[in-house]
């Protein structure tokens, strides 16, 4: 029927026969999209007297917001911490390939590196919208070098630094520029970290605690100064102790400022964290759980040796270690695998599992008004999944950017 739309002439697409994730529940509702955003059909009907131009049958799929990966070091042979000549095409390749994992926005992550790497690589990362070319880039995640020697994990010791001399100026000199930086992981027990955390928070950068031997009160102080995230909970931090829970204690701390929530990243690949530990964290603080892949260059490639910044890592199945050691170094799990594993291990609802990869990272970065949900006026970045949470199709700004090959490849 002819549509008489008073607001815009752009085509309106109505996705029917689907269950959409809205208000924390899967609801039998149609999804309406116009000009790359989710449209309110009631307003369209009554105020504009408009109707859909195209109707697409989703064949009873689950429609969920696109996944947001805030910690991914590379993939498909590309290492974000390596300053190569074709860095830009590398990031483009990864952003295109992860569409099939359901990721519609991500934060390319750099592990501890020498300043020269940051100075060369960071200017080549720009915040940009996603599309057929690939997932959107929200900004870089700088994991290190201001981290603890004792908990460096796979990070190269010779590149670790402190900022006790010049605090924030030291940090700025190391990174060169903070223009496209979204998250910084640091160890809060380092001297002058409070100033640095306050300065970063003032600039809208999310501060995350990780690779640290901080005790609970140091962690709480960091949160009071503005830290809001914990990098891969349990890994590279002191283990939970009943008299000093360390950073893990932030999940149930009563010293979090009112109105704030501490989020924590979990690599739910079945290797970085025992499922029982994953369940403990989830049950203690379900609303803060953010699924991350921490994927490295070898993700998507055959087992064998690959680089991770200044190190060489070895992949064997889903395990990735620093070559010749048993130190875990990133993962090769994909985001949709993490969502499925999380759902299985915790027995949580499908809605919870999907939100841990979409709503929560959006809330962490303060962008939930446009990403991470299917609310009206949000960006139309969404996925069609089957009941086993396998991604069937990926959409960015209302356009299909990836579809599962029907031949089953």
């Amino acid at each position: 029927m002819p549509s008489n739309k008073s607001v815009s002439d752009a085509p309106i697409v109505q996705f029917t026969n689907c269950r959409i994730l809205r208000d924390h529940q899967l609801q039998r509702e149609d999804l309406w999209v116009r000009e790359g955003k989710i449209l309110n059909p009631e307003k369209l009907f009554f105020d504009e007297k408009g109707s859909a131009d195209v109707q697409l049958d989703c064949k009873d799929s689950i429609v969920a917001p696109g996944f947001i990966d805030v910690q991914i070091n590379g993939g498909f042979g590309v290492d974000f911490s390596l300053a190569t000549d074709d860095f830009k095409s590398g990031i483009d390749l990864v952003s295109q390939k992860i569409l099939s994992h359901g990721v519609t926005s991500f934060c390319p992550t750099l592990v501890t590196s020498p300043p020269s790497v940051y100075h060369q690589v960071l200017p080549q990362i720009s915040v940009r919208n996603g599309g057929a070319h690939g997932a959107g880039i929200l900004g870089a995640h700088l994991e290190g070098p201001f981290i603890s020697k004792e908990k460096k994990g796979a990070h190269p010791e010779h590149c670790l630094r402190t900022f006790e001399a010049g605090a924030f100026q030291d940090l700025l000199a190391t990174y060169g520029s903070l223009d496209c930086v979204q998250i910084v992981t640091l160890a809060p027990e380092m001297r002058r970290s409070s100033e640095v955390i306050r300065e970063l928070t003032k600039r809208g950068i999310c501060v995350s605690l990780g690779h640290s031997v901080a005790n609970l009160s140091q962690a709480e102080e960091a949160v009071q100064h503005g830290a809001t995230f914990i990098t891969h909970l349990f890994n590279a931090m002191l283990p939970f102790h009943h008299r000093d829970p360390g950073i893990v204690g932030l999940l149930t701390s009563d010293k979090i400022p009112a109105g704030r929530r501490v989020f924590y990243g979990m690599i739910s690949d079945g290797i970085h964290t025992n499922p029982a530990a994953l369940r403990i964290a989830h049950r203690a603080h379900p609303k803060g759980l953010v699924l991350v892949t921490d994927a490295i260059a070898g993700m998507g490639l055959a087992p064998g040796r690959h680089t991770l910044g200044q190190q060489v890592v070895e992949i064997d199945g889903l395990n990735t270690y620093i070559a010749g050691t048993k130190t875990l170094s990133g993962s090769v799990a994909t985001m949709d695998t993490c969502v499925r594993h999380f759902q299985e291990a915790t027995g949580c609802s499908v809605e919870t599992a999907l939100e841990a990869a979409s709503l929560h990272p959006a809330q962490l970065l303060g962008i939930e008004h446009k990403k991470g949900t299917l609310n009206y006026d949000s960006d139309a970045d969404f996925l069609m999944l089957n009941d086993s949470l396998y991604v069937q199709a990926t959409y960015i700004a209302g356009e299909e950017v990836w579809r599962q090959d029907v031949s089953g490849m």
């Binding site: 029927m1 059909p41 009631e42 307003k43 009554f46 105020d47 504009e48 109707s51």
Partner: protein
């Protein structure tokens, strides 16, 4: 009148739905119009309890109706009486209402024509009775101060002008109102009783709603169910032959 008594709420709803479907098919696909009747004032259009939201969520979004064919009284219009008058004009322009479907309140009101409403009233702004306000409080978290106190409504006279009227009544709390509507006299305190003077009325109810009726009345109409069911079986479809479906299958007159 025809009194159709079904066992429970779902069966009553289903019978009514089938009847409406058959009537729509019989009416023919012409420029069919819908008019929706009673609208509280003062609620913004997108308030979850506004009639716009109610009609969208429960009806419009499930069907392929064209938005131009939806006419809901706008409780936020700058001149409410003009809005009401325009509504009456639109009904006239559409050729009058073919079938009016409504429910009744526990106080026997039709649309928002509360006890005391004129039986020849037209579309207008009406104050709401305490009973109605109390009944609607559940949509406003039980907070009486949030419930609107006035509503735009079609009048009793407006509904009487419809060629056919169907009233749905379910639940024991409506039983007394049903008794007053059909077994007592025409009375402006129970405005639904006005339809005793309409040539073509159907009351569809469940067992619970008949609790205050005489056994004789209930037995009489239940005995007619075989005949009444001919109104819903066969179920017509728009795809059938024109002649067949436009035959009005009325087994008897009121």
């Amino acid at each position: 009148m025809k009194l159709i008594i079904l066992e429970n709420y779902s069966q009553a709803s289903e019978w009514a739905a089938k009847y409406i479907r058959n009537r729509i098919v019989q009416f023919g696909p012409g420029p069919g119009r819908f008019f929706t009747l009673g609208l509280p004032t003062g609620l913004p259009r997108d308030h979850p309890e506004s009639y716009h939201s109610f009609m969208w969520n429960n009806f419009f979004k499930h069907i392929d109706i064209s938005p131009e064919n939806v006419h809901i009284l706008d409780g936020n219009a700058p001149d409410l009486q003009a809005e009401c008058d325009a509504f009456e004009q639109k009904i006239k322009a559409a050729g009058g209402i073919e079938l009016f479907v409504g429910g009744i309140g526990p106080d026997g009101h039709i649309a928002f024509n509360e006890p005391g409403s004129s039986l020849v009233s037209r579309t207008r702004v009406k104050t709401l009775a305490m009973d109605t306000i109390l009944a609607n409080a559940r949509f406003f978290d039980g907070d009486l101060s949030k419930v609107p106190t006035m509503a735009l409504t079609v009048g009793v006279g407006t509904v009487m002008d419809a060629r056919e009227v169907m009233i749905l009544i379910t639940g024991a709390h409506k039983a007394f109102a049903l008794y007053k509507a059909i077994e007592d006299g025409v009375n402006h305190m129970w405005t639904v009783s006005a339809f005793q003077q309409h040539p073509n009325t159907v009351f569809v109810c469940d067992e619970d709603a008949t609790l205050e009726l005489k056994v004789k009345t209930v037995k009489y109409f239940k005995g007619l169910m075989m005949v009444h069911n001919k109104l819903v079986e066969p179920l017509y479809s728009m795809k059938e032959m024109g002649a067949e479906r436009s035959q009005s299958k009325k087994p008897y007159s009121d």
